[in-house]
């Protein structure tokens, strides 16, 4: 089918903003961007894109945004996964939407998928106890039920999407600029990296073709790279070259288990809040509290020694030390990078008529041009 106007949810995000650029400049498809937070909309603001305010919790705003559209690309992801899709799909049914393209994720197969997940026909979706995977799986199940009930839809499961503005890339470059980048288990994990333009092309194909209706597709490059290659490629664009550190996945998991909230960590956080000057400033906007805070500060200074006052000011400061935080990869990284399965993209090629245009070297080169522009690298 040839779509008319398309509503894009999540239009101000990393993939959404690039999709808007491609729709405006390359695909020439009319679209409307659903915007939850206009403060993040600068990148699509430069396109002159049609923007409407909307909230996935608010069906009335969605119904209004869908007016005049016959396609939807659903990229938004938030805290209400599953519920948000139910509301959106209900609005889509009422609006008579002719094509619903849901952007899911390879994460629906969990943090440690078996080999059966390499191809769509045998790939399973479950509950894994891992928040991101579970949320994406919950959302996809809702969409799949709607498709089974007659919604003309296609599900795309992109893998690790990178490119200009990618948080995966900027995290590496920021770490490298700070002096060190970590690898998990020597970076031996499989990185199913796919360049953002290839994902946009797959979305465009899903809007255009009828051959994949009702199906789910992996959107992946032709060949995976290792996480060592992915991390070091971007890290080594930085001068001076950063140190490359190794962290074992088991040790990182053990660290995060030990870092779960305890009574002590809660008390420390409360003390830190009580001593925060930003918090005092905010409280001081209440006139009655303003004088009370001033009185307390003056009298505490009189009553306590200078050392004791400084000690109070520094409560929790040891926990805020960058060194303490940067040593351990966050839990999302552990899930992504301790990963050992390469996904196939054959079905998308066969049915959607899509081809990835970028291998990792080409995608990294384009990304580099943006990193230089954005002053994250010396040009």
């Amino acid at each position: 089918m040839r779509c008319g106007k398309v509503l894009i949810t999540g239009a101000t995000g990393f993939i959404g903003s690039r999709l808007c650029e491609r729709l405006s400049l390359h695909y020439r498809v009319p679209y409307r961007a659903l915007v939850h937070n206009f403060g993040k909309a600068a990148r699509i603001g430069r396109l002159g894109a049609e923007m409407v305010a909307g909230d996935l919790d608010d069906k009335a705003s969605l119904s209004s945004a869908l007016s005049g559209c016959d396609g939807v690309v659903h990229l938004a992801y938030g805290n209400n996964a599953g519920r948000a899709e139910k509301i959106l799909l209900s609005a889509c049914r009422e609006a008579g939407i002719k094509r619903f393209v849901h952007i899911s994720s390879m994460a629906v197969h969990g943090p440690n998928p078996g080999p059966e997940c390499a191809r769509e026909a045998t790939a399973t979706i479950g509950r894994y106890g891992e928040p991101y995977s579970d949320a994406k799986a919950r959302a996809e199940r809702v969409v799949q039920r709607a498709i089974d009930g007659g919604m003309p839809g296609i599900i795309l499961r992109p893998t690790v999407v990178y490119g200009p503005y990618s948080p995966f890339v900027t995290r590496i470059v920021q770490d490298a600029r700070a002096g060190a980048v970590s690898l998990i288990d020597e970076g031996k994990g499989v990185c199913n990296a796919v360049y953002v333009d290839d994902v946009c092309d797959a979305i465009y194909a899903a809007l255009e073709t009828d051959r994949g209706l009702g199906k789910a597709f992996f959107v992946n490059a032709d060949r995976a790279v290792s996480w060592r290659d992915f991390n070091t490629t971007f890290a080594e664009m930085v001068r001076p070259l950063p140190r490359i550190l190794n962290v074992s996945a088991d040790a990182a998991r053990a660290y995060w288990r030990s870092a779960r909230p305890s009574l002590r960590s809660n008390l420390t956080a409360l003390k830190r809040l009580a001593m925060s000057s930003d918090f005092h400033d905010q409280l001081a906007t209440v006139p009655a509290l303003r004088s009370a805070i001033r009185w307390t500060k003056v009298n505490l200074k009189k009553a306590l020694s200078a050392d004791r006052v400084n000690a109070l000011k520094n409560i929790g400061a040891e926990h805020a030390s960058p060194a303490a935080w940067t040593a351990w990869p966050d839990q999302g990284r552990i899930v992504r990078e301790d990963f050992h399965l390469e996904f196939s993209n054959e079905l998308a090629k066969t049915l959607l008529g899509w081809r990835p245009a970028y291998d990792f070297v080409a995608g990294a080169a384009v990304t580099r041009s943006w990193l230089e522009f954005a002053r994250m690298l010396e040009s």
């Binding site: 206009f38 403060g39 600068a42 255009e208 073709t209 899509w354």
Partner: protein, 355 residues
């Protein structure tokens, strides 16, 4: 000097109570004794109420500008740029002094109309170009006057951050409401600073990244006239990434650098005897017409002083026309900025699959 505790506070109204009023002006106002905030006016009453609640103000809430007449001495205008002209003219007709947010107007012609109206009414119109109210910029001006780095050879001024301003609509990106993109935001701040220090910029070239909407990155290259010599200058602004955020002036005997984040320091880079030296100069001993470190508070101190003494403020409207004219000149020679990551890549969907 400013704000005596014995002087009667100036009765103040704020017109437009959105983000800039709440985050910048009111935050500074509640630290000063110069003003008595009497009215918060916004076409959306809930926005005005939120502003009052945020700072525990007992000001009257209204959506009618005319309610200010006779009830306040001065007003701060924080509405959308294209509304600056009609709102300011209304306030001048009420006999009020006005501090108008930047950009003072959507065009230099509108700004000139406002300046003429202010003069005819005998009222003060100051403009929210806060860079001129930051201590290190006064230090910088003094060092330039003292010929600290010799003949000026190059000037670079940049203002860029990832845009993270709270917004309730897409008006920021709508040319029918705002005047332009980042050049009317961070761009006009650095441009105003350069003009304040050196005078007019002759625009040689300008590029931005607009692809049909407002620009989120813009760069002006031009020349200044310093002591009769042409000096190259570069002015850049960004909503997508961090820039240097300050001004850098290179001269025959060294380089001066003042950043927006280090409000009372100018850094001097010099090479003496083959060694590179860096020194930092603070405000001690340099006369300034305000006391506050926060430039918004300093600007409000200066506005109060201008009202009480009936003297020109640091940022009189007449002095803010030139930066607008420079942006207009830049837009007239605009060329697209190179963005290879935007243009890259063919569309890789086979025509055969489009059934």
């Amino acid at each position: 000097m400013t704000s005596s505790a014995f002087e009667k506070p100036i009765r103040l109204g704020i017109v437009g109570c959105g983000a800039v009023a709440q985050i910048c002006h009111l935050k500074a106002l509640v630290t000063l004794r110069d003003y008595d905030i009497r009215y918060l006016c916004d076409r959306n009453l809930r926005t005005a109420e939120a502003a009052a609640q945020l700072y525990g103000l007992r000001a009257k809430i209204t959506d009618r500008t005319e309610d200010l007449a006779g009830n306040v001495d001065a007003a701060i205008v924080c509405v959308w740029p294209r509304q600056h002209l009609p709102v300011t003219l209304d306030l001048l007709r009420m006999g009020l002094d006005v501090l108008c947010e930047k950009p003072v107007a959507a065009s230099s012609a509108d700004a000139a109309e406002m300046a003429t109206a202010a003069e005819s009414a005998g009222r003060i119109v100051a403009v929210g170009q806060w860079c001129r109210c930051q201590k290190n910029m006064w230090i910088l001006r003094k060092l330039l006057a003292l010929d600290f780095i010799g003949e000026v050879e190059e000037v670079e001024a940049e203002f860029g951050n990832i845009l993270a301003w709270p917004m309730s609509s897409g008006a920021y990106f709508d040319r029918s409401i705002t005047a332009g993109g980042v050049m009317f935001d961070g761009g006009i701040h650095v441009l105003d600073l350069v003009v304040w220090l050196f005078g007019d910029v002759a625009v040689v070239e300008y590029e931005d990244d607009s692809l049909g909407g407002v620009e989120t990155n813009g760069v002006i290259r031009g020349t200044l006239s310093v002591n009769g010599r042409r000096v190259p200058c570069r002015i850049a602004a960004s909503w997508t990434h961090d820039l240097r955020n300050g001004i850098r002036i290179s001269g025959g005997k060294g380089r001066l650098e003042a950043r927006f984040t280090e409000r009372d320091v100018v850094t001097i880079h010099q090479e003496i005897g083959g060694e590179r030296l860096e020194s930092r100069i603070g405000p001690n001993g340099i006369a300034m017409p305000f006391r506050a470190d926060n430039p918004y508070a300093a600007q409000l101190e200066d506005f109060a002083e201008a009202i009480r003494r009936r003297q020109p403020p640091i940022t009189p409207i007449a002095s803010t026309l030139l930066p607008l004219k420079i942006i207009e000149a830049a837009y007239s020679v605009r060329r697209p900025m190179l963005q290879p990551w935007v243009d890259a890549g063919p569309v890789t969907v086979c025509a055969a699959a489009k059934s």
